[in-house]
Symmetry: C2
Subunit: 208 residues, 2 copies
């Protein structure tokens, strides 16, 4: 709608080979389709059509639709990892940066809801090519673990196992993100408010 790029490029010339990086083009198309029209609107035939390529050409680069979705998930984890580290780093690598990380996490999910669901929606099975996605998920997770360790060294966080602390905190932001995506937090700014509240509770606990 907001894009001026035409959906179906009209070819007056006879169909020619797609010179260039077709796998990358497919991935971009898939990500964009999911972002603007939802995952259920993603069809291999549509991707090929919009790229001016035959339907079966895609199978040269991705084993099947699952593999393409796995690549989409991988791309998402890569972006998420970058966003998290940036928030942590520019936030001063302390209490403030950590809070910024939480906000950045939820904002990423809210800004790319369908993409986020592909990353965590169970579409990517542990069986098929999701190992890469899992590793990248671990990479994003590692940013969180590192941030915790650094805070522990500064005496900002208690000395529990940083991996378990990270799992706990990931659970919180992931949970907030999912609730936001499911519309459980009516006003859109409510998500930020909940993250802020969650950050406070994470620090001081709920005991009176």
């Amino acid at each position: 709608m907001l894009r001026s790029r035409p959906r179906k490029p009209v070819r007056k010339q006879p169909r020619r080979y797609h010179h260039g990086d077709l796998p990358r083009a497919m991935l971009q198309e898939a990500v964009q389709t999911i972002q603007t029209h939802g995952t259920e609107a993603l069809t291999l035939r549509g991707v090929g059509e919009r790229l001016g390529v035959s339907r079966t050409a895609l199978y040269r680069h991705f084993a099947d639709k699952q593999a393409l979705l796995a690549a989409v998930a991988t791309e998402g984890f890569r972006s998420l990892r970058v966003a998290l580290f940036e928030a942590w780093d520019t936030g001063g690598r302390g209490r403030e940066g950590f809070d910024a990380m939480g906000i950045a996490y939820v904002r990423f999910a809210v800004a790319h809801p369908a993409h986020y669901r592909v990353m965590f929606g169970g579409v990517v099975r542990p069986a098929d090519g999701s190992q890469e996605a899992g590793d990248l998920g671990t990479d994003a997770f590692q940013v969180l673990v590192d941030a915790i360790v650094e805070q522990q060294q500064r005496g900002l966080v208690r000395g529990d196992d940083p991996r378990q602390l990270a799992l706990y905190i990931w659970s919180v932001v992931h949970g907030v993100a999912m609730l936001a995506l499911d519309g459980m937090l009516p006003p859109p700014t409510q998500a930020d408010a909940l993250v802020k509240f969650a950050n406070e509770r994470l620090r001081t606990g709920i005991a009176p």
Copy 2:
């Protein structure tokens, strides 16, 4: 596999009308199919076939596949609400019961992963008949809010807005559940361990 019930009932008689509660039968079939073979294996044609009913008969009771999935989600929220209240109530409606609630929540998700994903996977859009599902989600949520209020009255929980506290705690258990479903917590017992840890952190906070 473990069931002895035949997949495709053989009818030697000419097809007869399905006397009985077809909507309920459909819902049960859908829930069972999702539980045992995954959501992607759920097809209206298959449901009809297994029920000994024509494909189009289903449309008399559910507008479309989305509506059937919405009913599945509703059923899930109902079960979850029961499981949560039971854990809270038999746990003594105190600190122990509250911890039991958290464990019960995650166990429900782990025991019915596909069903849980239908409830929270965004399949049920806010647009179509998901209002009932949303209301039931609110019902399950209310159990949590009530538990918090009761603990506040007993001086077990600080006097914050119980609704926001409930959202926060729901985020935690929901996040743990999703991570467990995505296989981020390798050993299966790891989920229980994380919930236990989360329950502790919820009480005392992560500040040193």
